[in-house]
Amino acid sequence: MSEHESAKSPLKGYFAVWIALLVGTGVTVYAATLDLAPYNAAVALGIATIKATLVTLFFMHVWHASEKLTKLVVIGALFFLLLLLGLTMTDFATRGWS
């Protein structure tokens, strides 16, 4: 894993991501105190997803260090998770339309 690390040490990259994550947390907390009515949940989940992708890509070295298969496993897991959430929602969302 280490041989094709970028020439200069990746420390700068890690600290940048770290700062971004902390800022993200702050923004989420601040956004929650605003009254965005319907979009509150969407904003919160959006920021959380950005943070999660940051951690996955850089901290877990999915961005450049690992090979195609790891990316496939990550995307596959998310696909099946969305499957579970999405198809269950088809039932609960359409229950009122009798």
């Binding site: 894993m1 280490s2 690390e5 040490s9 990746p10 420390l11 890690y14 600290f15 770290w18 994550l21 902390l22 947390t25 989420t28 907390v29 956004a31 929650a32 105190t33 605003l34 009254d35 509150n40 949940a41 919160a44 989940l45 920021i47 959380a48 943070k51 999660a52 951690v55 996955t56 850089f58 901290f59 877990m60 690992s66 090979e67 298969l69 790891t70 496993v73 990550v74 596959g76 897991a77 998310l78 099946f80 998770l81 579970l84 959430l85 269950t88 929602m89 609960f92």
Partner: protein, 236 residues
């Protein structure tokens, strides 16, 4: 347990003691280990996925009561916990980098800091649980949640049953997350011992990488738990 595989591994390739007998060369073993961990993390995604699905549906059904219940949880502690976990993710990445570049002191210090941050996280979690216990918000017989207004609907009170539903999901999700955190601490303790004995070399430091992947995953779960559970409806 007699490590029969290590003994029989010797005659295969003597120079690397850590190479298990049934792998052709170290790169294959490292790839196998990291693929194994990634696939395990996929099962964990589905494990927490089931909980998120239950939470999503009940939040959609009883939004007002969930908002009222979520308002009683201490947001400040939750935010600090998130920051704590993010810092621990940073120290984990440093540890992995240190193992790659044979910086033994940095490796050991960052492992220790990670474990300390993990303990801080569990401490804050303990304070939160005690707070809930004092306010009788722990689901079960002693649960009481009457006359709590629903945010945004003055005069309307939350239904105690639905609030208990929120708290049972809250305790199950954060409890399982804390359990995974404890397992993570166990792994890092074992990593610390092996690092102390100097077992990790730039060629072979797979356990540190694997431990790092697991820790980052536990952090990602918390990154989603925090907004979903704590920040439903915080505007005044």
């Amino acid at each position: 347990m007699p490590d029969s595989s290590a003994a029989t591994g010797l005659h295969a390739e003597a120079h690397n003691p850590a190479l298990l007998h049934h792998f052709a060369e170290p790169q294959q073993q490292r790839d196998a280990a990291s693929l194994g961990m990634w696939v395990f993390l996929a099962t964990e995604v589905m494990f927490f996925g089931g909980l998120f699905c239950a939470y999503l549906i009940y939040r959609r059904l009883y939004f007002g009561d969930f908002a009222a219940a979520s308002k009683t949880i201490n947001m400040g502690l939750g935010a600090t916990n998130t920051a704590v976990l993010i810092c621990s993710s940073l120290t984990v990445v440093l540890a992995v980098w240190a193992a790659q570049t044979a910086r033994r002191t940095l490796l050991i210090t960052s492992l220790i800091i990670t474990m300390l941050l993990g303990l801080v996280f569990l401490g804050i979690k303990g304070i939160e649980y005690r707070e809930k216990f004092v306010e009788h918000h722990v689901p079960g017989a002693s649960f009481s949640f009457d006359k709590v207004p629903i945010p945004g609907h003055p005069g309307q009170y939350a239904d105690p049953h639905h609030a208990q539903l929120f708290f049972s999901l809250y305790f199950v999700m954060t409890g399982l997350h804390a359990l995974h955190m404890i397992i993570g601490l166990g792994i890092f303790l074992w990593l610390l011992i092996m690092a102390w004995k100097g077992r990790f070399t730039p060629e072979w430091h797979t356990p540190v990488e694997i431990g790092g992947l697991y820790w980052h995953f536990v952090d990602i779960i918390w990154i989603y738990l925090f907004p979903l559970l704590y920040l439903i409806d915080r505007h005044p």
